[in-house]
């Protein structure tokens, strides 16, 4: 019963923040501007539409700029948060986040190389390098077909440092280093309907896998011993790595490296609904979406008309929260 209330509230908050995200911006709109544009946009995409002259004012701002951007923020938040839940189960470590597999490090190198040498293929390179990074971390950790998660964690961290050094190298010698730098902090300013469609597809696959496999994720917390409870733990780990990679590298490739949401959302969700993945994954996903829309809203309004990278906002919100978690961890209460 209590859980149902929590989910209702999270869904309501999602709706409120999505609307606010479209409503608030550097051009002031009225609520009716927003609703009429939304209604028109939906009508237009239905079959049998015939009234092209009645296009509301600000339709372009609402439908072509803000709506895809806000939706993208919401979907990226959901992706990173659900990948975060799965990473924490995989590593049996509440400090784990989806970037630990090397995705952000690889994507950073790819983007840096892209901005210097192939500026029209930055996303593609970031994506390719993030996959390469996961493959490297994974191969280094694999022993006789098994993946010891401690080794995976350490090689992920080590790889992250190396990738960070390579990225810094390109930033320090490059001509377009300001672009790389902005990209590294993440932004939704370039998000369009194409990105939304692409990520929706990925999310449909990845999130349904994690929602469907809630039992397996619970058992994963017991590590190797979970095999005695019936989990094919070695195979499931590989599946989790695959879907975490999918849910992380696709958003990173199109919006940059946005930190902390993948780490914090699972924690907030755990405080609200407990550690059982049956409720934890959907709760964390919704929280991730809400947080990301809120962070993006702050990022594009706090220094109007200039936008700041959304990663700065999530880090500013996430940093203090992370420290708070660390302090709780000292008292052994973190995993509650």
């Amino acid at each position: 019963m209590r859980c149902r209330t929590i989910f209702t509230v999270l869904l309501l908050l999602s709706a409120i923040f999505l609307f606010a995200g479209v409503y608030i911006g550097s051009v002031s709109l009225s609520p009716s501007d927003v609703t009429s544009s939304l209604v028109y946009g939906i009508e237009r995409s239905l079959p049998g539409f015939s009234n092209p002259s009645a296009k509301p004012r600000f339709f372009v701002i609402v439908w072509e700029l803000r709506l895809p951007r806000v939706l993208m923020a919401y979907l990226v938040g959901i992706s990173l948060a659900s990948a975060g839940v799965a990473s924490q189960a995989l590593f049996k470590n509440p400090m784990a986040d989806p970037y630990l597999l090397g995705i952000s490090g690889g994507a950073g190198v790819g983007a840096a190389v892209g901005f210097e040498y192939f500026p029209s293929h930055v996303s593609l390179l970031a994506f390719a390098f993030s996959l390469l990074a996961v493959y490297t971390v994974y191969s280094v950790s694999k022993v006789n077909g098994r993946i010891p998660v401690d080794t995976l964690l350490l090689s992920g961290v080590a790889f992250g440092f190396m990738a960070g050094a390579v990225t810094s190298y390109f930033v320090s010698i490059g001509k377009n280093s300001h672009l790389t730098y902005m990209w590294l902090m993440g932004s939704f300013s370039a998000s369009g309907w194409g990105d939304v469609a692409e990520l929706s597809l990925v999310l449909a696959l990845g999130l349904s896998f994690f929602l469907w496999k809630w039992r397996e994720l619970n058992l994963l917390l017991f590590g190797e011993e979970s095999v005695t409870l019936g989990l094919n733990v070695q195979r499931f780990r590989k599946e989790v790595i695959f879907f975490v990679t999918l849910l992380t590298s696709v958003p990173v490739a199109s919006t940059g490296i946005i930190g902390f949401v993948g780490l914090i959302s699972p924690h907030i969700a755990r405080l609200l609904v407990g550690p059982n993945h049956r409720r934890l994954t959907p709760a964390a996903a919704l929280i991730g979406g809400i947080l990301m829309v809120a962070a993006d809203l702050v990022a594009r309004t706090v220094a109007r008309p200039t936008e700041i990278p959304v990663g700065i906002v999530t880090a500013m919100m996430g940093g203090p929260f992370f420290l708070y978690l660390l302090r709780k961890h000292k008292r052994g209460e973190l995993k509650r």
Partner: protein
Amino acid sequence: MRLSVNVSFSYGSRRVLRDVAFSAERGELIAVIGPNGAGKSTLLKCISGILKPEGRVELDSLDVLSLPPRERARLIAYVPQSSYPEFNFTVREFVEMGTYFTGGSVDEALAKVGMLERGGESIMKLSGGEYQLVMIARALAQNPRVMLLDEPTSHLDINHALLVMELLSFLKEEKILIAVLHDLDLAIRYADRVIILSSGRKVWEGSVGELTPKILEGVYGSRFEFVEGKLGRGLIAALDSKPLNPL
């Protein structure tokens, strides 16, 4: 129903178990004892499928090691060495994990360990003894034929230790029970058969009545004496080597 085990295991080039062979039947509690590093926990991990040993583990001539985990979990349950619970599951949620792939009953399992009324409590708020009972309940919820328990009484006060051992004495009537025990006193009081491991080999096996202080002395290096009292048989041990004197 008969479990026959014959396994060897190496961590890399280090041989941890060497041709450890025995068989077990329902109705007897088997205690695996031996000094630290003898390979006792490794033996249980090999039988339960956590580790992949060389050799065979058969349940009524069914090769359990080659079964997929789901099917093996219906036959063999493993109660790990008790550690502090790390996640805030409720007792019921925790025991339910035993049933995910086996289809056993949570209520029945909780009732067997006397925790039916406490399903809604957080496992983090339980005492060590209660947590151990819940871990046993999770194994029972798998409805297995064989239960393997790794030091089920470690960290428990004497009353909870006795409670757990008495519970095992009842369970042995319907399941094959193999427990690694550090407490030799509890082992000789509750076990029906004893297997002694030392440096990865089985050095002795027999009924608890055949166990003599001399056999234990050969394995542990301490001196032992069995005593009989009104409450049953007990064990007294004394150091045989020169004690460490820090003063």
